[in-house]
Amino acid sequence: MSLTEQEILRYSRHIILPEVGGRGQKRLKAASVLVAGLGPTGSAAALYLAAAGIGRITLWDPGILTPADLEGAVAHDRSRVGLPRARSAREPLAAINPEAEILVLDRESDVAAAIPEYQVVVATAGDWRDLQREALRHGVDAVFAATHGSMGSAFVYKPGHPCLACIPAEKALAAGLRPEGEGYAIAAAAGVIGVVAATEAVKLILGIGSPLTDRLFSYEGWDARFRESPLSRRHGCELCGVE
């Protein structure tokens, strides 16, 4: 996969970085990422993934855009209220980066089946355990991220590292990785965590830096505090099954 002259100009600030270069930018172009959930965290992540030059982004969200969503999720627009959230978020992504392929899945059942096609899954909503199970089965890297109000968390699953089900239930709940997904979030706080998720996806694709595996990264906006807590594989985990 090569870069066009226009792409070299568009990504010049990336290409000049030794950690990215032309080779890295081609990797991003060849990559496909699934963003599950286009609420506050997912929409922030999706905007930055499109801008960064990910070649194929699939947006999954079975929900319909409501006026309340616009308080937290910045990829949407008032004129698109009533449309499926994934379709609404597709518009700014395609407008930022017309060269990227931006696909939409808007049925509840679509998401798990799609996972083997992707290099990285960014999971901000949906049935988390289902997403984790499929990521495990197909050896796909996944970034889990969610924001509630002013507080959000993220971590990365890679094969061989702690999975979502390894995290003790209370810890996952406190971090906002809840079965019902995201509720209301302050857009700025969700922006922090959504961008962390996008950053981790970019790092995984480029193979640079230290990924958020084995650690849970959290931000609390009212205090501007960041916390990192270690994660480890749980013996007898029902999903990743260390005996």
């Binding site: 600030r13 290409i15 905007l47 008032r78 996008a198 790092k203 230290s210 501007a224």
Partner: protein, 254 residues
């Protein structure tokens, strides 16, 4: 934990105003997120037009906006998200001649600029007008963010950096590169700090500097203090009006 805005805070935000210096990498998430939170009036100050090389990180602008003034492109996106926001366009260079008058018309200044001359100018104009300032900067994979408000006991930019770096010693984004996601993180944090200053809730970064590295996904916090010897906010200030910042910074824009 994780509480959203209270109704009284939303009402406060609707009555408040912010001047955003720069509608580029940092300004992009800030503009979206201030509008989403319901800030009543947002001033956008940027004289640049959108360039293809901006789009890798400046998510406020679309490919069809290339060549358009960034403040116009930004205003269109804010209107799509929340048409009630009063957006004021300032497609001008911020100078010693216009800064004080401009700053006096807003409750808060957020500095998303990308050069030292503008940072010192924003700082001095904030101190002279008593406005709190949210400050952020980005470089390759690294970012810094804090709040400057000597009026409530914290330091200012000059307390932290009394003198600018030698001209040419710090390369620009164009020379050094920047990972596209970086301003998204720093700008989002800046927006959250701005919302805290406007609502009066929470513990802001006044007196605390966050240092971020995206490759390690690490955030360090450093305590920063007001300098009694600071020439603008110290015990015996020597700067009482705005100066020539291009000259102060060695005549180098970036």
């Amino acid at each position: 934990m994780g509480e959203p805005f209270l109704p009284a805070e939303k009402a406060k935000l609707a009555q408040s105003s912010v001047l955003l210096i720069g509608c580029g990498g940092l300004g992009s998430p800030i503009a979206y997120q201030l509008a989403a939170a319901g800030v009543g009036r947002i001033g956008l100050c940027d004289m640049d037009t959108v360039d293809l090389s901006n789009l890798q990180r400046q998510v406020l602008h679309f490919t069809t906006d290339i060549g358009r003034l960034k403040v116009e492109s930004g205003a269109a996106k804010i209107a799509g998200l929340r048409p009630e926001v009063a957006v004021e366009l300032h497609p001008v260079a911020l100078t010693r001649e216009n800064a004080l008058e401009l700053f006096a018309r807003y409750d808060l200044v957020i500095d998303g600029s990308d050069n030292f001359a503008t940072r010192y100018l924003v700082n001095d104009a904030c101190v002279l007008t008593g406005r709190p300032q949210v400050h952020g900067s980005i470089f390759r994979f690294d970012g810094q963010i804090t709040v400057f408000h000597p009026g409530s006991g914290g330091p200012c930019y000059r307390c932290l950096y009394p003198t600018p770096p030698p001209p040419g010693s710090v390369p620009s984004c164009a020379m050094a590169g920047v990972i596209g996601v970086l301003p998204g993180f720093v700008g989002s944090l800046m927006a959250m700090e701005g919302l805290k200053l406007l609502t009066g809730r929470g513990n802001t970064l006044n007196g605390r500097l966050l240092i971020y590295n995206a490759l390690e996904m690490d955030v360090a916090e450093v305590q920063i203090k007001r300098s009694p010897a600071c020439p603008i906010c110290g015990e015996s200030p020597t700067i009482h009006e705005l100066i020539d910042y291009e000259l102060f910074c060695g005549g180098v824009g970036e």
